[in-house]
Amino acid sequence: MRPTDEAQPAISIAGVSRSFRTGKRVAAALDNISAQANRGVVTGLIGPDGAGKTTLMRLIAGLLLPDRGRIEVLGTNVADSALAVQTRLAYMPQRFGLYEDLSVQENLDLYADLRGVPRAVRTERYADLLHMTGLRPFTSRLAGRLSGGMKQKLGLACTLVHPPEILLLDEPTVGVDPVSRRELWEIIDHLTNTAATSVLFSTAYLDEAERCDAVLLMHEGKLIGAGDPREFTAKMAGRSYQLRTKTISKRAAQEALSRAAGILDATIQGEAVRIVTDEAKAPNAAQLLPGVDGVTISAAPPRFEDSFIALLRARQSAARRPPAPIPIPILADANQESQEDVILVRNLTREFGAFRAVDDIAFSVRQGEIFGLLGANGAGKSTTFRMLCGLLPPTGGLLRVAGFDLRTAAAPARGRIGYMAQKFSLYGDLSVRQNLRFFSSAYKLRNARQRERIDWALAEFDLDAFADAASGDLPLGFKQRLALACALMHEPEILFLDEPTSGVDPLARREFWSRINALADKGVTILVTTHFMEEAEYCDRLVIMAQGRILAEGTAERLKERLRRPDNPDPTMEDAFVALIQTAEAQASAA
């Protein structure tokens, strides 16, 4: 390599725009992006779904051409000489690019052939990769039979079979369990340290930003920030606090705080509410929650997410901030939560052939509770969910929802349930109003009652302005609102949410959860699945699932409490999850 190369950035992007046309609609995926990624470090491409991360990756890899602007990879213009760039760069697309009916070894062989790895060095290279990814025992297993985490590692091994100078990873950690996520980060750190590989890593998980050496923050096709993630976090020092009170419920406190003046962000964290202030000044409890006694406020460490929220809030016009505070309900009767089990699950099992997707699980959910099913892809969450909705008959066990046995009375139980499916399952070609009308008529709402509920939904979810727009054209956050509105048309007692916030931006996620909290306060029972560890904090109680089993059950606080050590005084939900999986694996191998 010529010495002059050293000074060049790994990737430089200058004034790049790119739009896509579907039918008559032209959507700008990237809007005048200028950025660069340096050599030998991990650059994080951070942003929610629809921010333009994948489009940018594909432009860098030469899979798309920009409408305007120029991208250089190691000094080479990608648009002119894509093939030259592709020999020096490796790219792992979102679904890892594996051939599922080929074995681990055959996948490696294929990519070694495609990348022209000489036979002589293969043995050694394979040994390294298999050791690094822990896939050595599985070389003859078909890729389709691997777990999500193992697929991710095989995908990575295939891109590394010829050591690339630049590695592009497009959301490699989506839906992968936290243990695999950590192992992936170890591999990446190893690569940048030993091979000086330049890595561009895209993710929607804001907590991963802190592991990057530099970040590019993206939102709706624009670059809204770039730099060292630690600097972003440092700017938020002295602005984050934990607030605890026994006088009002945590949900009421969070609701009131999110509307209070001088507060950028308020989220529930275990039993406390975590707040971020406008200025680096300790907040005054009496001002924040007037008339509420027994409030303690303590400083909390800043997080990268706080700075992202601050950036997003700054972009939002002041008019869009939630207005006047609403009265705070003092915790008088909230303690008298109903003890009635609305959902009861005992010895529930579901087999698909020889495969046990759900293996003897049990839990119960009380009225008005927010209950979480937390686990990676393939843990059995969705299968459990489908059984609870009466969409899939169980192989064995007891399943009662709203007093109905789902094995004998699935239809009446379904009338009491609202269901918001993954990816929102809306009719994209229908307008917002038509979607609402369809879903309400599916639940047998007619005439005046139907009109009344549609009007309610349009007003409650601020969808009036979009009433006649095709729902497929809505921004992701609005699609999410509409999907929730559709699930609530028949005023269900129980609400099932399947991965409701995956990929939406943090503000939309906060708004969504504030609606869910309000519903729970009105007595609606809520069951939610998520692989988003932080989301578990919103749940009153949750179970952690892995490989079809429940590993632990309890409040988020209790699950984290078990891990509190002097060296880890404030463990995260992810720490708890990782510890549980490791214990389960240790027990399995001991047995």
Binding site: L63, L89, Y91, D113, G116
Partner: protein, 375 residues
């Protein structure tokens, strides 16, 4: 172009493709099962011959003469006659589709014949299916002429016709429409198989996201295309061989031509069909769209415009012109020649040349339009 790395990449892709064919039965199903099922379905189901056609026979007054005529109908392979007591009942049977026609011998049939005729034979044929009706009409006439001749011979006198027709059928002496239809059918089925093979497997790579991963490797687009073409060419030719075996062994279709002519022409046709599939795959990025497109733009035109059932000569001029764009048209002609007549080069050569041109055009269009990009 073919450097060492290129060969290495091509070999890797080919091995991958063959492993996938062995492990995922869908490609084998398209190559072998689909032609076999369609061939059996059409081979047994579609026949342009009237055989054992149910015929209602009404004899108002049984006489030896009438019985003799009825017996002739019984012996004909084309009919399975059924007796009805009155014309009204026969009519009802025809309404219920239990009979395709009625033979009506009135009470005065024998008397008029004895009086030196003409004795009328009433013939009513259901004309809804015009093609079938004409066949039935012809068969009845044939039975009638045979019967007249036999009666005359029995009576010891020659039937006096001013001219005699000696029909002789060439190329399909058994006059079985299946012998004629099956070769054409093979061409039509192979059009679908060939297009589906490439269109579906590439759409599958798009769907599973593996195409995106392939494209970022230093592989060239022609290497990807070649690695798809070779395995599915082999598979398609296997399906072709299976179809020919079914035709010859099961349907007993005569095979007059030579194996190598058939192989050569089939190879040309297969390249054209696979080329169509590849062209479809350059824009259809999921298997559903690819499958639908393959059926609509290859199978349906092949079925209607190849001349395998519908005679091209009797189509309007504009439609006749369109048939030249259908590869199956040339292959139908070649197969019909090779099966029924033999290696008639004056027929085969121009059609084979047309197939060659189509293969070059389709594969060339694929080469020009395929890009190593997602848009």
């Amino acid at each position: 172009m073919m450097d060492r790395l290129s060969i290495l990449r091509l070999r890797g892709l080919l091995r991958k493709e063959f492993l996938q064919i062995l492990r995922d039965p869908s490609a084998l199903a398209i190559a072998f099962l689909l032609p076999a099922i369609l061939l059996l379905l059409f081979g047994y189901g579609v026949s342009l011959d009237a055989r054992n056609a149910p015929l209602a026979v009404v004899i108002e007054q049984p006489t030896p003469l009438a019985a003799d005529f009825a017996a002739n109908l019984e012996h004909s392979p084309y009919f399975s006659p059924r007796r009805f007591a009155s014309f009204r009942e026969a009519e009802l049977a025809m309404d219920r589709r239990e009979a395709v026609g009625v033979i009506w011998l009135r009470a005065d049939f024998a008397r008029k014949a004895d009086d030196g005729g003409p004795a009328p034979i009433g013939v009513i044929v259901n004309g809804v299916d015009a093609n079938n009706a004409r066949l039935i009409e012809g068969y009845i006439q044939q039975v009638w002429v045979n019967w007249l001749q036999a009666s005359a011979t029995r009576a010891g006198r020659a039937l006096a016709f001013p001219a005699v027709v000696h029909p002789r059928v060439w190329f399909n002496p058994a006059v079985q429409s299946r012998d004629y239809l099956t070769p054409g059918l093979i061409a039509v089925i192979m059009t679908l198989t060939g297009a589906l093979l490439t269109a579906l497997v590439i759409a599958r790579e798009w769907e599973r996201g593996t195409m995106e991963a392939l494209m970022v490797t230093p592989v060239a687009i022609w290497e990807i295309l070649t690695a798809k073409l070779i395995p599915y060419f082999v598979l398609g030719m296997g399906g072709m061989a299976a179809s020919v075996l079914i035709a010859v062994l099961l349907f007993a279709v005569p095979f007059q031509g030579s194996g190598w002519t058939l192989t050569l022409c089939s190879a040309l046709f297969m390249l054209a069909a696979l080329g169509m599939g590849l062209l479809i795959s350059t824009f259809a990025r999921n298997q559903f769209v690819a499958g639908q497109t393959a059926i609509i733009v290859t199978f349906l035109p092949a079925f209607i415009l190849s001349g395998f059932i519908f005679d091209i000569g009797s189509m309007p001029a504009a439609v006749q012109f369109l048939t030249h764009l259908v590869a199956a048209r040339y292959f139908v002609t070649i197969l019909q020649s090779v099966f029924l007549a033999g290696d008639i080069w004056s027929v085969i050569a121009p059609n084979a040349a047309a197939l060659l041109i189509m293969a070059v055009v389709f594969l060339g269009a694929v080469r020009l339009t395929a890009r190593k990009r997602l848009d």
